[in-house]
């Protein structure tokens, strides 16, 4: 789980001067409420999801494999009074993809979702290694 660990390190460092903190816990559900909803303005990074596929199939079965790793991260803030630095937080989170070395694809995206008077930012990081 090196990618999740590296993301946590980068996010912890670069979000330290913002209104959002970073938790090392995974975003499990406690009492039907995800931790990131219960603890607003705290970012949670989920476990890695991996898919290993063949890049090159060889006749001697010495195949070349690639690993696609996806990591989701969540942060929830008050939708009525968003933190003034939310733009900085979002861009910092998106740029955390650059902290992962030795990958051929490094991508990140963010989606927003409202839940009552809260807004949940879901970040998705995608990496491909060979």
């Amino acid at each position: 789980m090196a990618i999740r660990s590296d993301l946590l390190t980068d996010l912890t460092t670069n979000l330290s001067s913002t209104s959002v903190a970073v938790s090392t816990q995974v975003p499990y559900v406690s009492g039907d409420i995800p931790l990131y909803v219960k603890n607003m303005k705290k970012m949670y990074v989920d476990e890695e999801q991996q898919e290993i596929t063949e890049l090159y199939n060889c006749l001697d079965n010495n195949d070349v494999l690639q690993t696609e790793t996806t990591v989701n991260a969540y942060v929830c803030v008050d939708a009525k009074t968003q933190p003034t630095d939310i733009d900085t937080v979002v861009s910092t989170c998106l740029n955390a993809k650059n902290s992962i070395a030795n990958t051929i694809i490094r991508e990140s995206s963010v989606e927003n979702e409202y839940q009552d008077d809260k807004i949940i930012y879901t970040f998705e990081y995608r990496f491909i290694t060979v």
Binding site: Y56, N62, V130
Partner: protein
């Protein structure tokens, strides 16, 4: 009668050497080309066509064949650049790149169904050509086509 299924991973085999003895498919002195993606053994004859007044269709005869083995491989540094020195075979020492640029004659055994006794192979000799290693960020592993321009005819063989 049986189809030849190569999915076991040790069936389609290409062994190169600087002599027919070293290229023996059942031996260990030659270079067994690793990580082949595909291999094609071409035996393409030419055709001479002619017309006669007493025939409603063309006649044809075949002319000597162009023999060529083409393959694509994922580049293995030892196989491509050689091991340097120390083996008893030039192809192993110089690798595919070395014997290509040095225009060294290579002997080959191309196995159809492995190296066990009674397995079929074709053999011959020729020159390595057509190397074009390429890589890009969508496929970040070096791959290259390889062509063996066969000098003369193939010989069909059976592993003893």
């Amino acid at each position: 009668m049986a189809i030849i299924n190569v999915s076991a991973g040790n069936e389609a085999v290409l062994v190169l050497g600087d002599s027919a003895a070293n290229a023996n498919i059942a031996g260990s002195d030659g270079l067994t080309v690793p990580s082949m993606q595909d291999i094609t053994i071409n035996n393409s004859t030419g055709v001479f066509r002619f017309k006669t007044l007493d025939n409603t269709a063309e006649s044809a005869v075949t002319t000597p064949a162009t023999n060529q083995i083409t393959l694509n491989v994922v580049v293995d540094d030892a196989a491509f650049f050689g091991t340097g020195a120390g083996s008893i075979d030039t192809v192993v020492d110089e690798g595919l790149f070395g014997v290509s640029k040095n225009k060294t004659r290579v002997f080959f055994n191309a196995g159809f169904n492995g190296t066990d006794a009674t397995s079929k192979f074709v053999s011959g000799s020729g020159f390595i050509s057509g190397l074009a290693p390429t890589v890009n960020m969508d496929s970040p592993v070096w791959v290259t086509p390889v062509t063996i321009e066969v000098d003369g005819d193939y010989t069909e063989g059976v592993v003893s």
